[in-house]
Every structure is written in C-alpha cells, then in structure tokens.
Amino acid sequence: MKLLIVAGPPSAGKTAVVRQILRSVAGLWKIAYLKIDVVRAFEDEELRAEFSIPTKKIYSGDLCPDHMGIMILADTLVWAEQEKADILIIESAGLCLRCTPYTTQSLGIVVLSSVSGTNAPLKMAPMIALADIAVVTKTDLVSQAEKEVFREKIRTVSPTIDIVETNAIQGTGMRYLMQAVVSTPEITDAKMIRLRGIPPLGVCTVCAGKQEIGWQNHCGVVRKLDSTEAIFRGD
C-alpha cells in the first residue's frame, strides 16, 4: 500500500486535488481516504458517495489536527489494509501552518492556492519545505505574472520541490502529480514510519486547553515578549 499525505491551508483545493487523483485511478487502484479536521468536515461523505470508496473522518477538537493525525496514523494504516486499499490518502485540516504532517514512506503533497497572494508560500514555509511535491491550484484565476512569481516564492522555500500547476476543477496539468503517485514506493515497514520534521507540537498548556493569557499562567515551552527565544517552564 502507498501512503499519500495531502496538506495545505483550508480551501486551497486539497479535496479538489484528491478528486482528480480518484478520477485518474478509478478502476485501477483501490483508495481509502481519511479526512482530519477540527470541528466539521464533509469530504468523507461526499467522496464515498461519488467514488464508492471506504472513507473515514476524525475531529481533532482541542488538539492541533496534525498532532491528531500522528496519533491515529498507525490505526488508520491497519484500517486501510483491512479495506484492501492500494493507496491511503490522508487529507489534513491544514489549519496549523507550523506543523507538517508528512512522514517517511509516504508522498507528501502540499496544496497551495495561487489566489492566496504571491507571498503565501513564504508564510507556509514548514508545510512546503518538507513536502515532496507542491500542487498549485486555481491557476485559471490569476495573471501570468503572479503565477510566475508564486512559483519563484515556492522555490525560495524549497529549491528542489516538484511543482505542479493546475486548474483542479478541470484537472489540467495533473499528469505530473500522477507520475509522482505512481513512482511513490509502497510502505515497506509501517512500524518504521516517522514524522519527517520536528514540528512545534503540543509544547505548552495552551495546547492542552488552558485559556488564560500570559506566560505566567502556563507551563511547558513558553515565551516572554522581550525574550528572543522560547524557554521551558516547569509546573
């Protein structure tokens, strides 16, 4: 089984890209799909109805959705194997621009919308830097100049990343994403799958749901206004 992890900010076109993948592998491979979101998601129901594939969703509630994804990934792999899937696609919530959900033994796909402004890639650097391939959607809506600059900014963050430009509704330009999917190796040893990066995960009591403001009220890795770096504060 292959593992695809699709990240990117809300409304970037992640589901539109997943749909295009599902269209192009229809009849060839069986796909299982997991949607991770914070409070509400509908993609699993839509994709199950449209493509008759096994889908699941999970809400992360108070946790960073990327933490959640990591916690449940091993279980999800077991579920997808039971479903006899050839590919497991995980669509992240994409709300945490600091975290990166990509793991080893997977294809990390970051979906970015070209209408989000030419500086957007710089603001989402971690999500891009550890991905294997960037899919830039909504190129039907923006000027040629902005498309070119957008691409340059992605290259600034990750000079060697594979970039695919697409109108994800029409599915134009997807051939290179599909080539990357095809050449992604299967998972060889699920127990050895590791997070690619060390994102700032669950490092403080804000993460655990404590709502007071001010570092004086928190433990873990905290930060003062006039300090240049984070400090650890025990309970």
Binding site: E146, V164, T172
Partner: protein, 260 residues
Amino acid sequence: METEPIQCITILAGRDRNGVAEPFGRIDINPGDTISIVGPTGSGKTAFINDIEVFACGDTITGRTILVNNRMPPESFVRDPSKKPIAMITQNTKCLSDLTVREFLAMHVRARGITKADICTKTLALANEFTGEKMHLDMRMTGLSGGQTRSLMVADAVLISNAPVILLDEVENAGIFKDRVISCLKSHGKAVIFVTHDPLVSLLSDRRIVMRNGSVERVLTPDGNEREALTVISRMDALMGRLREKIRAGELLTGPVGSA
C-alpha cells in the same frame, strides 16, 4: 535547454463524449494564424484549448495529443510557466495583488529577467491601443475595468511573456477593439485561438472550428466567402463602439443612430 522557435502546433484527433473518434486527422496551427472555436455551451470548447495549454498527450478526457514542430514538446514547455510558449487568458484571469500597473508589469519583467528599460511603457502603450479607456502606469490593477484588464493581459502576453501562441477563452469584452487585437497579434506573428460567440471575431478568423458533443465537428475555412457579412458586421461593431463612448460621455442619443 535551448528550444527552437515554434513553427507549428499540431492537434491530433481524440474522441467525443461517447468515445467516437473525432472526424479529423490533424489540425496545424502556424505563426500568425487566427482561429476561432465556436459551438454551444458544454460542447467542449474550453476542453479543446485546455488540451493545447497543457500539451495533452492522450492523457486528458478528450484523448487528444498536441505536437510542437511535429514532436512531443519538451517537459519545460509544460511545467515551467516562464518557459511555456502558450499564454491563456480567460474571463477569470485577474491580477489579484493590489499593485499599480507599473508594479505589476515590473514584477513580471523581473520574474522573466528582462532588462530592456522601456518594456513597461511599451506594454502599456500596446494595451492602450486595444482599449478605448486609456490606462496609465499609476492606476491600480484592481481598479481596472474588464476591458482594460484584458487589454493589458494580451499586451503582457505579447511583449513580456513573448508567447508565440495565445489562447483566449470567451474574452468577449466590450471596451476592447477586437479587430486591433487580432491585427496586432497577426503582425507580431502570434497564433491566436479564440473561444468565442462574437460574430466579428469569428469572421475575422482564418479558420473556424465547430465543436459538438466534446468533439471537433467541422473546420470551416471561409476563404473570403464571408466578406460581405464581415463588412456589415465591422460597421455595426464600430457603430456600437461609438454609441458606447457617447453613453459613457453622458450624451443623449437623439439623432439618427446609424450616423452616430
């Protein structure tokens, strides 16, 4: 990689929505050609030019293949927007950033590594030939009208992108002089393909591709036989243009309309 100039783009037939092969062998497009794509909504016009834009190789829904100079094009044509010899402009194509016209053009010039000093003013001057509503470099992109934006995008495609092939998907804008756009693109040796419902644009084209059910149904070559219709429609288009200017200027159209 150095790429040779584009002499010919070829479309090899695919199949219609029912899987039936299209009734043509190949359609060749050469520099300076003007082609319009016509047909009802849903007949596959946009799909046709999308195939060209992505250099389809049997991997799109239509099964068509696009060749450049009789060969499969290099990957950089397809993947790198700054190397791509094709500029596509649709009704939706906009500059989203809140930039002035000067900053917008300069951004593109920089991205392309062009060093010619006067390229921005030249591009603006060309754009202003296409539209009745003159632009200047200090206007904001987001404040431009549809006609102004399209005029600027076409001029940008010609002079800054320097794309040999320009695709225009239903860019029927009032406020843009279609005949001037066409003759300019011809004189620059650009091949241009219009998806259009506009009689003037269709009549000004050398060839007309008629779409139906996802397939090319026919390729019409009027070859001068529509000259009479073209004369009448050119006159009507010019008249509409003058009336539009008068209305914009706040005039009442009281006299005989034909002599406006």
